[in-house]
Symmetry: C2
Subunit: 199 residues, 2 copies
Amino acid sequence: MAGRGAETGVAARLRFLAEADRLKSVMRAGRIHSGRRENSAEHSWHLALYALILAPLAGEGVEIGRVIRMLILHDLPEIDTGDVPIHSGNGLTHHGAAQMAAEEAAAARIFGLLPGELSREFRALWDEFEANETPSSIFANALDRAQPVMLNIACGGGTWTEYQVTRQQLQDRVGVKIQRGMPELWDWLLQRSDGMLAG
Amino acid sequence: MAGRGAETGVAARLRFLAEADRLKSVMRAGRIHSGRRENSAEHSWHLALYALILAPLAGEGVEIGRVIRMLILHDLPEIDTGDVPIHSGNGLTHHGAAQMAAEEAAAARIFGLLPGELSREFRALWDEFEANETPSSIFANALDRAQPVMLNIACGGGTWTEYQVTRQQLQDRVGVKIQRGMPELWDWLLQRSDGMLAG
Ligand SMILES: [Ca+2]
């Protein structure tokens, strides 16, 4: 282990993986089938599965392997910041300047735990996801918005009821991103959410 | 959505993704940093991250993308069977004939929810993982054994204390698979587990 272990920074990699364990304690607003709130680690797993299963809906230029890597790591900065529910604070908190600055600092700390090259690779994937401009990140962001919609549909309203979300608010906060990455899916989801929205 | 939606079996895919949500309620023996037991969905996420981070330790012929796909789906049959702790029943229950038959039936039901081609692809990946013969599956199985070892090291013993696991038992139940996929890592892990084992 001596030589190659040092080269590849195994100790640092294992410390990072131990730190990542904390994502399992970051709680989201949405609820799983059993009624308890979802955590960000299992949410990230579900998204990776979404990517595999909904790959045929992906647009041109989407690399599913890249999407999955992005989804696996995209929430890691929440270890420091927590998850901000998309419908909280009248929908304004989620991408507020303060929240985005905090997430930047968290990304710097957490991806900074990794050895040089891998650290840069993870940070670049996270930046790509956040910028939402490449085909792969547009698809990844659409999945990240679609999965909570599916959880709400499964339980008959969920966070929509909790935050009294209207159809227009859902369109603005969630629909835009889903439509951009998976236009076919949005109509389907909207149809099935009928009667669960506030107006 | 009409034409392409039907072709790609979107409704079936979404039903499968809703069913997969139940993996978040399958509880494992090991405990995360906070002290609560880990569930199989967040465990699967952690394994996918392990694959990305420990890729430099993979042997020849290992395709990391394939490893990640395998790890994302490998525990889905536990939705029907539950997880059998590797150190329970004196280490004999985990790969007992009854358990393996139950997992076969569960894999048939759960992957059978998917449209034809995807169903076959998922089942083939699951079979490959279980057979543990290809380079990618050998690496995936090594990760599946290494991550719980890391959780036990992080909490000073965990399931080893609970099941009074000896060094030899750990070698037989866990070490063999880790050594096969990541020979360099096993020494490292064994060294750090010193004093936490029953004998
Ligand atoms: Ca398992």
